[in-house]
Symmetry: D2
Subunit: 426 residues, 4 copies
């Protein structure tokens, strides 16, 4: 990845513009929805990502904040930067208005431009580059969240609003054009892996989060990885055969979670006769049998894997296979607004389509060191109680994800685009 | 009160226009805020009051709903009319937009006009009049709620937004013009009452809610009623002398409520040195000593009364005094956007200024009969666990309140404009 | 009621012995059960009532507590007497042991005896008499609670333990001997009442709680009171006709309560085919159709009354009828360990059998004054959010209840022996 | 470890007797306490371990349960064996009594004896041996829980009861005899480890839980392990320097946990001036500076490690060092009833004294297979959301723990005897 200063400015502008483009179909009212504490309003995402550049880039360069009192509103979780708006109450911020946020974004962009312009020639500013990279990766993360969060909010409206018209799915030659009933499910193959002493984690100069570093060796037993994600057809079999009511398939906490919620299908999905109907960014539609099952919790992913006589992979197992593949797949703006079937015999869908739950809890790599200062709160302090996910989804901005990339969520989380890939011991 | 058909149309238009006027200073984003389940978004108030006319007036007259699927969204609590949007999730309704609601309101008004036009001449439609009266009283109630709810939402925004500019308070000759430090607290007088067999409740043809009927006799022991509401000066004394930490002043549940919330002052208020600072519709300001203390819970009202060596009145005691007085006072649009001091020796502030907590639980009058059908759910089904409040507040629309009027809220509620008037046994 | 000093000592001993006799069938393990915060362990009841005499009678007479550190454990809710064991954690007090409590009770009785002996001759001690009366009434209240609390605890044990053998029910000539299927339901009659200006509340020298005083006049509209309690046959009809699923029968909070708990029958009861099976102090049994329905919440009592085309009486209405009747009925130790059918045409069951929910919220009488000091916390501080019940139950000690007696519980409470009597406007 | 049949019977009797011996100082009332859902009453532990042998050993050998209805009461979490007593309500089981449980234990032992007698000669019964071993290991686990659970219950009693007299601590020559102020804290040494490809997990015939198998290779980076546990002196420094109020030391969820609970010290501990006072099985005492800090949550262990410039070890790092050491230390009945200081330069305290939180989440080993049938629910279904602890505590029965042994608890748990050992990258 080329991170030369010139590219940095153009990349900055590209990322910032994408955020605004993603928000464009949404009214100011839409942009202020928050359906649960884990979600944030679209407007808040737009503001928080801007606050990030103002706070971590412009502030230390002697440029005081334009609206000092907004720091309280748009700090997410940085303890070192003081108190902040209660997270479940972000939707109470009708003011500043969406229009004021748009203006602020333009002002910050105008201040950032001279900083980034010619950064390549200013050796004394080399230390700035990784911070800009971090700011861009951060905003890309919020682009995905912006979409998953508005989807969750819309799911609570009985009018079932669509973020995008279904028509926007009719991209020529995409598998989504096939009607669900025609769709044969492509066979799953097992990709055999020898294991042994392998290297995982990020090395070199390219941007990576601190939690991907340092690269280090791990020993893998021989294993097999599935060629594609678990499909809707497999999910239907799980439901049909009483999977949600079979205790032996579930982790103990997963069973509690199923019972407490009276769950019968993944989030946004429901059986209607033989059809599996899902709510998504284009409204309600029937999901094809060969599409991957998405919006699974870790508990569901684990139970379905057990049902299918397999298990979830560890993050090391996943990464070892992914390292050999190009970072290609159904990412944001490269296909329809929903998960799509695999093409060809695979290995497929490792990048894009759906984040894949792994059997690995989120923990520091040997030798992990968080950055100094407030920015060190980015990743390390969340390293308990969560599971690692890998590979990105159809809502992940292109260029954002890597083989070493570690996403993480609590096991019950379903509102992200999350799926399952099987593994088994060789 | 003249309820002749002609007046009914003009009164209808007046009430409907006031709702829109009250919403006008608020952006679509502001109008969709909901800070707690007891509150609703301004837009929802505008829609729900419209749904009321469409459902109870137009529907039975053969006019089907314009947007049938909106019934689910804007039914408040009528079980007989089917399921509805979860109350705590009313702020998730970004759609329909504020603009669509405005259009719907105009459409309903256009349909209502011919129905109301010349209603006086159509004897066969006489039964309609009380229903229209109910719809108007209902919308007036929501006008007050619209304001108390947006105030509560704004109170959670660190920017402390104002609904109205402070300038709008500077009405010539209002007591609020006096600076707080100059304000002498007018002495409270005890108004002696002989009691005996008196009549309370609504009789006659004028509009009254079902819960005010039937009129009936009650026997009152001799008592005394305070000439004015409990003042900020008295509240300050209560705080200063440790009232919030003195168990003997509190009802047992009140003490639990104080401790669980770590409370030190009424809602929206706080001591700053010697000053009592409050947040209100014009932002933050210091309250004058002679203003009434407002945003009290019943628990606080009761404890302060005990602290002052008195008690709260029963609703019958209050009504007996109020019957003899004109319905005049600081009501909506008749003074500044905050509670104002009493004028003269009183009796004063019985109508307007602040709703007065009574010692009476909300219960049916002897002979009470709710109306048949869904409209019967209006009042009777709430007759447990709540306390009666009397008299209206500075946010109550003029013409809305009466001596027989019974408002009711749970004892912990503070977000309404609620105050306390003392009573004692003679 | 004769409260002469000599009688006082013998009555003291009688009450104290009854507590021990009621605890006798229970092992130390049984005596330490607490199934919910509203309940207390039997051992705790035995200790708390002893603490009451030690604290309010012996302490002020110069006799320091035997175990000063036990005050923390056995103070119930007296704020003026300092901090105390968290209420939901009373069952964590395995120590002091049941045996130590028995010894303490004997020690306190030995100290109380000389105080009570010849109290009649010591004019200077006249003030003591009402305090002793209060202590005895207090212990009688805890005798009833002791039984209702152990019943609740036993109801959570799948072995369904019985407090008393069913054989103890086979008292000759009691209605319970009739097999349920034989039982005809005695017809309910309406007792017409003229109403008018009547007096209620306690006057005179006999013992009464502060909340029954002062006597005062109230005006009653004409009304009718049912001659007996609502029966199991009537409850069955309510259940059979879908009462638990008919919103229009319920208060709004009652409906929430039904839905949240998935309720289909009163506490401890369930339909088994045509039979109504209840769990009680003698284990499980089928309830006869002519027995009263018990363990009703206020919500259920109110809904059943509505279903039967009537309403619940106010406490004044109930008291006015009860004043004219002898205090006789199925009280503790005067019949079987369960509610029994009415005998004869009535009016019956006003005293004993089951506490009767009234439509009146618990509030102070005009002129009410709580006692000075800690003892003033006995009744007044609970006067919000609760409903008044009248008349006593088959677990109320004989001599305890009166026509003016006011019991009070929150509307959702079912673990007391609570029933419903109908009333209607004349 | 010799598991010959003859030894098995004597070991069976030894384990069973120890359970009864541990319960002996406790009255039936003590034995029925349950202070939180995670804890169980002592009596329940005695019954559940007996149910285990009756269900998994005797049942399949054609011996039906003595009290079939007790299965509901004493099944812990085996879904395959049907419904069961609600976990938080185990203390509601006053019946069966402690005496009945004692009788049942004797009956089961009488049935088990012939089964175990001469088991070595019955080749056809070889499959039984691991099941008996499991039953014994299971009962040993409950012996430790029995003690930690009664300690937790006693901690809620203001009388601060002691399970054992302090005198029982005065074993000659134990470090506990030194008065706290004299105690020098033995210096911590770093034990350097080369890492590399090492083997972890259980192999061979000796008993091990399924979660310790199979043995497999892992690669370790070079690291250093502390020679002893974190001491009270180090805990005091953490508290004194504001550790509980320094966000940068905590994992994000740990900080929430601290704030929600207002925590200032580990469970059962508090600063009194310069002294660190702890509640334990012998009542309250001052902890010496050189004792290990115990009753830490994972959050606290992690924060203290960060404060001391180190981190917690992974379970592989811990096991690699422990494999080389004899399984010796302060285990149950081998020292006083509280944690004791290390002796000598170490490595010390790896076995016994306190369970050591590791940085590793509880997850299946590569190739892990749970057993078939209900017994397969023993370990695997808990493999999410928990952290691994290693090494045993001063309450762990001797012979129970091993280098490969994996204990697991949620990160907030403190009521076990849990401590911290530091590690760092080399």
């Amino acid at each position: 990845m080329d991170a030369a200063p010139k590219t940095l400015l153009s990349r900055y502008l590209e990322v910032r513009r994408r955020t605004e483009r993603l928000a464009e179909p949404l009214s100011p009212e839409d942009q202020n929805l928050q359906s649960m504490p884990e979600c944030s309003p679209v407007k808040w995402h737009r503001a928080h990502t801007t606050w990030f550049f103002e706070t971590f880039l412009l502030g230390p360069r002697g440029q005081p904040p334009i609206h000092p009192e907004w720091g309280f509103l748009y700090n997410s979780y940085y303890e070192a930067l003081g108190p902040r708006q209660s997270r479940p109450q972000r939707s109470l911020l009708s003011r500043p208005s969406a229009e004021e946020i748009a203006r602020w974004r333009r002002q910050i962009d105008e201040r950032m431009a001279p900083l980034l312009e010619g950064l390549e020639d200013r050796e004394e500013d080399a230390a700035l580059i990784p911070l800009v990279e971090l700011g861009l990766a951060h905003e890309e993360q919020h682009q995905e969240l912006l979409l998953t969060d508005v989807l969750n909010a819309f799911s609570h409206n009985a009018l079932k609003p669509a973020y995008a018209p279904p028509a926007s799915d009719t991209v020529p030659d995409t598998p989504a054009l096939r009607s669900p009933s025609d769709a044969p499910v492509s066979a799953m193959r097992w990709l055999p892996q020898e294991g042994g002493l392998v290297t995982r984690g990020a090395s070199g100069d390219g941007f990576a989060f601190d939690n991907e570093r340092p690269a280090h060796r791990v020993f893998l037993q021989p294993y097999q990885l599935a060629s594609r994600l678990v499909s809707v057809a497999e999910l239907k079999a799980f439901i049909r055969e009483g999977g949600y009511h079979t205790p032996s398939l579930w982790l103990s906490e997963g069973l509690e979670w199923v019972r407490a919620g009276g769950r019968e299908a993944p989030l946004y999905g429901r059986m209607e006769g033989e059809a599996y109907v899902v709510f998504g960014l284009t409204g309600e539609r029937e999901a094809g049998d060969d599409e991957p099952a998405v919006h699974l919790s870790f508990y569901e992913a684990d139970a379905i894997a057990t049902f299918l006589g397999a298990r979830l992979p560890t993050e090391a197992e996943w990464e070892h296979v992914a390292q050999a593949l190009p970072v290609e797949g159904h990412l944001l703006e490269s296909g329809p607004w929903h998960a799509t079937p695999p093409r060809g015999p695979g290995p497929s869908q490792l990048f894009g389509t759906a984040w894949e739950w792994t059997r690995s809890a989120y923990a520091p790599y040997p030798g992990f060191r968080p950055a100094a200062g407030a920015i060190g709160e980015y990743n390390g302090k969340f390293m308990v109680h969560q599971q690692v996910l890998r590979g990105g989804s159809y809502l992940t901005p292109p260029g954002h994800v890597r083989a070493t990339y570690r996403n993480f969520w609590h096991p019950h989380v379903q509102f992200q685009v999350t799926g399952a890939r099987l593994a088994r011991d060789a």
